[in-house]
Each structure stands twice: as structure tokens, then as C-alpha cells.
């Protein structure tokens, strides 16, 4: 049995807007094992990024984590002071964002930015930090790293920028990397390079990854375990092979079936009708019931609990009633 590195329990995040309270994350629980790659997958607005930001304590003034806990090495991250959290961010847990070009500071050299965590967290001198940063830039596959160190973000391509972001995130050898749509802004060829880079870095540095994405293809390529999110809750959890082979929740099933497969040509795609609900006015009962093809009377009024099929399959759907309730 692998050791749990981080354990999220009953996490809830609210955003307070003029239109009302947005229940972005509504009771989410999952674990990331030591050295594992866990996917949090869903459509835009399902709460996957809010979950990541809440774990990192980066929600900003509009959002608030209203309940739950995030256990990391015996401590609840949500109870730490901002100062204590700063010690962890960038050192033990770090994050990579979607747009490398907006995440990098345009007026400072890329190398300086990559080296900065070493100075802050490990107290390295400028010279030492520079050497280590150049090594790290080489490790993530930036050619001619020593001369690239002094270049500015606008001199980097999107793929190189994302490599630099990954170098910056990994430079203090964190135990957990949170990657929020790390390849979404990139072309497929560059995406393939970043995926293979993450695989090799995970093995070399033995870190765990929480991958946040809407792209099931990227999940299939990278993850060990996958959590499917819909409208603020996790609707299905399982080993990546099981989820792709035999998706249980009608939402996961529908999504996987609606994707055109590169290998097969069919005239008509199967679709999930309707659209994602507003997080301000969630439907009664099961959140997915207005779009579900297996909907029953009960789904209109009662929100389904999580049912456990076996040790590594969980699903939030009344179809599996009778199995063990979690």
C-alpha cells in the first residue's frame, strides 16, 4: 500500500458574486499517493481549478474555502497561517499554470525567476542558485541553458516557456506538483514533449503530481488514478485503465462515448444533451439528472451518495445503490 501524501476531505469552496453564491467546490475528497499521478478531470466550471487553488491557499479575495481539510504530512494546510503556507508553497508543493507566458514576469530574466525559489527557501547565494537553475533548465530539456538563463520570457516559445515554468516549480524538489492544464495552451507536438517530460521527471525526482485537465487524452497518457468532476463534486473515482475501459457514471460514459476516436470513423457521435448547470442554481437531487439518460424519479429529489464497488472504484450515482455506501 502506497503512502498517502496529501489527503483532501470534504473540501468546499464558495465564490461570492453579485449574482449570488457560486458553489464551485461542494464537498470534494480525494488522496494523492506518494509518487503517484492523480488526475482531476472535468469541463470548465466543474471546480477543478478552484480545488487546486484552495489547496495552495491562492483563492484570492472573492473565494473562500468554507469547509473541509487538506492533510499534508500530518498538518491541515487550511489551518496554516499565510506565513507558514508561504514556506510550503514552492518548496514542498508547487504549481504550474496553463499559460506560461502570463505566469512568467516579463521584465525579469527567465533564469532569475527559475532560481528565485532557491534563494527564498534554501538561502542559496546568487552564484549557487544560478548554477543549480541552469542544471534544472537542462533537465527539463532547454537547449543551451547557460545562455538561455539571461533571456527574457518574450524570447521563449510557448513550449520552452512551459519547460521553464516546470523547472521553476521543481527546483526545490517538491513532493507534490500541481499542474493546472499544463499543456492546454500548447500545440500537440509540444504537448507530447511535456507529457514525456513529466513522466521522466516523476521517475527521477520521485514526486507526486495532481494533474488538472479537461482533456481525457492527457489523462490517458499520464495518470495512474483519475477523479472525474461534475458541477463541483467528484462523480467517479478509479484506476485510469478501469475508468477508460468501463466508465460507471453516466456522465463519464457519455463523455467518453462522445469523443471522436482517431482510429474509428463514424457518421454520428453520441452526445450528452443539455449543458452544464449554473453553479449558482444547482438542480435539485443529482446534479447530472437533467442530462442523464438513465434518470429515475429518485434522482430528481435526492442527491446520490458515493457508492463503493470495490477497493478502487467509487461512483456517485443511484444506479449503483445496494453497493456499499461510503
Amino acid at each position: 500500500m502506497m503512502q498517502k501524501l496529501i489527503s483532501v476531505e470534504g473540501l468546499a469552496v464558495r465564490f461570492f458574486t453579485r449574482k449570488g453564491t457560486v458553489r464551485a467546490v461542494d464537498g470534494v475528497s480525494f488522496d494523492v499517493d506518494d509518487g503517484g499521478i492523480v488526475g482531476l478531470v472535468g469541463e470548465s466550471g466543474c471546480g477543478k481549478s478552484a480545488t487546486a487553488l484552495s489547496i495552495m491557499g491562492l483563492l484570492g479575495p472573492a473565494g473562500e474555502t468554507t469547509s473541509g481539510s487538506v492533510r499534508f504530512k500530518g498538518e491541515d494546510l487550511l489551518r496554516l497561517s499565510p506565513k507558514e503556507m508561504r514556506q510550503i508553497r514552492g518548496k514542498e508543493i508547487s504549481m504550474v499554470f496553463q499559460e506560461p507566458m502570463s505566469a512568467l514576469n516579463p521584465v525579469r530574466s527567465v533564469g532569475e525567476q527559475v532560481a528565485e525559489p532557491l534563494k527564498i527557501h534554501l538561502g542559496l547565494s546568487g552564484g549557487e542558485a544560478r548554477l543549480r537553475a541552469i542544471e534544472m533548465l537542462e533537465e527539463v530539456g532547454i537547449p543551451d541553458a547557460a545562455s538561455r538563463y539571461d533571456q527574457y520570457p518574450h524570447q521563449f516559445s510557448g513550449g520552452m516557456g512551459q519547460r521553464a515554468m516546470i523547472a521553476m516549480a521543481l527546483i526545490c524538489e517538491p513532493e507534490l506538483l500541481i499542474a493546472d492544464e499544463p499543456t492546454t495552451a500548447l500545440d500537440v507536438t509540444i504537448q507530447a514533449q511535456i507529457i514525456s517530460l513529466l513522466h521522466s521527471l516523476r521517475e527521477r525526482l520521485h514526486m507526486a503530481v495532481l494533474l488538472i485537465t479537461h482533456d481525457f487524452g492527457v489523462v490517458a497518457e499520464l495518470c495512474d488514478v483519475v477523479n472525474v468532476m461534475y458541477a463541483g463534486v467528484i462523480v467517479e473515482w478509479g484506476n485510469v485503465v478501469d475508468v477508460f475501459d468501463d466508465p460507471l457514471h453516466p456522465y463519464t460514459r457519455g463523455l467518453l462515448r462522445s469523443m471522436p476516436r482517431a482510429k474509428r470513423r463514424q457518421r454520428k457521435l453520441e452526445v450528452i444533451g443539455g449543458a452544464v448547470p449554473s453553479l449558482i442554481e444547482l438542480p435539485q437531487g443529482c446534479r447530472f439528472h437533467p442530462r442523464c439518460e438513465y434518470v429515475t424519479k429518485r434522482c430528481f429529489s435526492e442527491e446520490p451518495p458515493i457508492f463503493q464497488l470495490n477497493d478502487d472504484r467509487l461512483v456517485r450515482c443511484w444506479l449503483f445503490e445496494g453497493r456499499m455506501k461510503l
Binding site: D187, A192, A220, E221, C223, V241, S258, M259, K268, L269
Partner: protein
Amino acid sequence: MNDLPLLRVRNLRKGFLSKSGIFKRRRITVYAVDGIDLDIYKGKTYALVGESGCGKSTLARLIMRLVEPTDGSISYRGKNLLSVSAKEMSAIRKSMQIIFQNPYASLDPRMSVREALAEPLKAHGLWNEDEESEKELLHLLGLVGLDEEALDRYPHQFSGGQRQRICIARALALRPEFLICDEPLSALDLSIQAQILNLLMELQERFGFTYLFITHDLSVVRHIADRVFVMLLGKIVEAGGAEEIFDSPHHPYTHLLLSAVPVLDPRARGRSCLLPVGEIPSPLEIPPGCRFQTRCPFVKDLCKVEEPLLDGNVHAVACHFPLNQKRRTASKRNE
């Protein structure tokens, strides 16, 4: 394929002036579209694929005459679009329409759906303030699966998928025959993409539309396209039937693009994926010779000197050393 193509593009080029150097004194012309030939026949679905910055959207805008070309010719049903009178162009415009990527940006937020749909009809003098015209609007909404109550609502009241439906209805208002779809799915939610794709396919079956899809999503291309053009830095490097291109790509760039698409099967992970070796050259400094030389795993001396020309009829490729089955398998084994 003996009849005249609907759209014929010959040696189309579009240069943009780029200033560089500290004092912006150096002026370089960057060719976003650099000598493109295309034949598009009626009723078929074509796909134009390539990475960002390869010039595919510029090509779409050139065909629609939203930007003026530097050089070359575009003819539609035998008429040269670059020399027809304004009146003739207006008539041709009716039969060519474009659907853009972002339905949040392509609808005027202050126009109700009724106004948005009536606008193209008014612009072409087809609008009478009568019941007939009103019926036409309802008909358009019906085609894209929206109902009457949508007419008096504004774009912000719709979801992304519904907005894209409105954009499609608007494009259909003038009863076009040729539609350019510039990344019509990429701004939409995953569960909505299949709905819009099905809608576009249904409309094609019903009205015999000719489509030019511009996209970076290769799994969509395989699903819908009859013929595929692969574009790299302003040029077409491979063109052919969708099946042939997907089953046996001849250009190493096409091979690379296809092998980079993630497979929806975690068991197939770790299959040999060809990774590019170098970086894409800047469009400002395209090297002499082949445009793919900096990333090609099979690059030879000749490729650095002489630019390969697009060669072949049904399945054309611009490569000095096109791949065949044997070399494709060999390259996989080496991984």
C-alpha cells in the same frame, strides 16, 4: 473529380510587414501564407490542419477576402474573386460564409438574436418587415435546434454551445453553399463539442454544404474530413484523402503531428511517439531548404539546401525523402 472545382486557389501569398532591430529600421516581410494551391469540390469536407502560427487562419480570411492577398488568385465557380466587381462580389459573398472560433466574441452583445439573424438578410436586401421574413428567422433557429423564445434574448443569456448555434444560424441565413469553420469547437465545453459537430454534419447531409474546417484537433479531422491539407509555416506540405493521410502519412511532419495526438486508451500509453528534436524556426527567419529541417528526425544534406515542392496528384507531399511503410515502422523501432 473531373468537373470544375467550387473554389480554386493558386499561388496565394500574404505578406505582413514586420519591423525588427532596436530602432525598428529593419523591415522584413513575413509570409504567413506563402504560395498555396487548393482545389475544393462541391459537397465535400476539407480539413486544414497545422500548429498555431502556420497561417491556416490567415488562409481562411484570404479566401473570404477579409484580408487582401499580396499575390495569387482565388476563383469561385470560375470567377476570379480578386477582379470581380463589387456587385458580383456581393452576390458571391452570399454563398460563402465563415463560422469563427469564439462565439463569445463573434456576436454583438447589444444585438438581440432577432437582430443578429436579420442583419445579413437586411444587408443583402432580402428583408421585408413581414410575416414571411419572421418565419424565415424561426426556420433558421429550427435548423440549429433553438426555439422561438430565443429570438428576443441577448447573447449573454446563452451558453457557449447555444451561442455557437446562433452563429451557425446566422451563417445559414443567406443560404450559402460553402462554409469555412475556423476552429468551431475549441472554445466549447467538452460535452457540447459533439452536439455542434453532429449539427454541422446533419446540415451538410441536408443541404449538401461544402466545408473547409480549420482545426488543430486531429481526432475531429479523422471523424469528418474527406480530404486533408497539412500546413507548415505558410505552405502545404501534404495533401490527400483523410484515410490515406491518417493511415500512411508521407511527410515526416504529418507523421509527427499524428503520433503526438494522445490516445484515449491508457493501455496504449508508452507506444512509440515520435518526438520532435529541435524547435520550430521563427517565421521571420525561415531557413533555406525544407521548412521542417530543424525538427525532422530524417533530415539529410539535401533538405538544408533545396526546398522540396509539393509533388503528386491525389496524395501530394513536399518532401525529398517521403516516408513509406518500411521507414515508418523502422522509426518506431528506434524509439
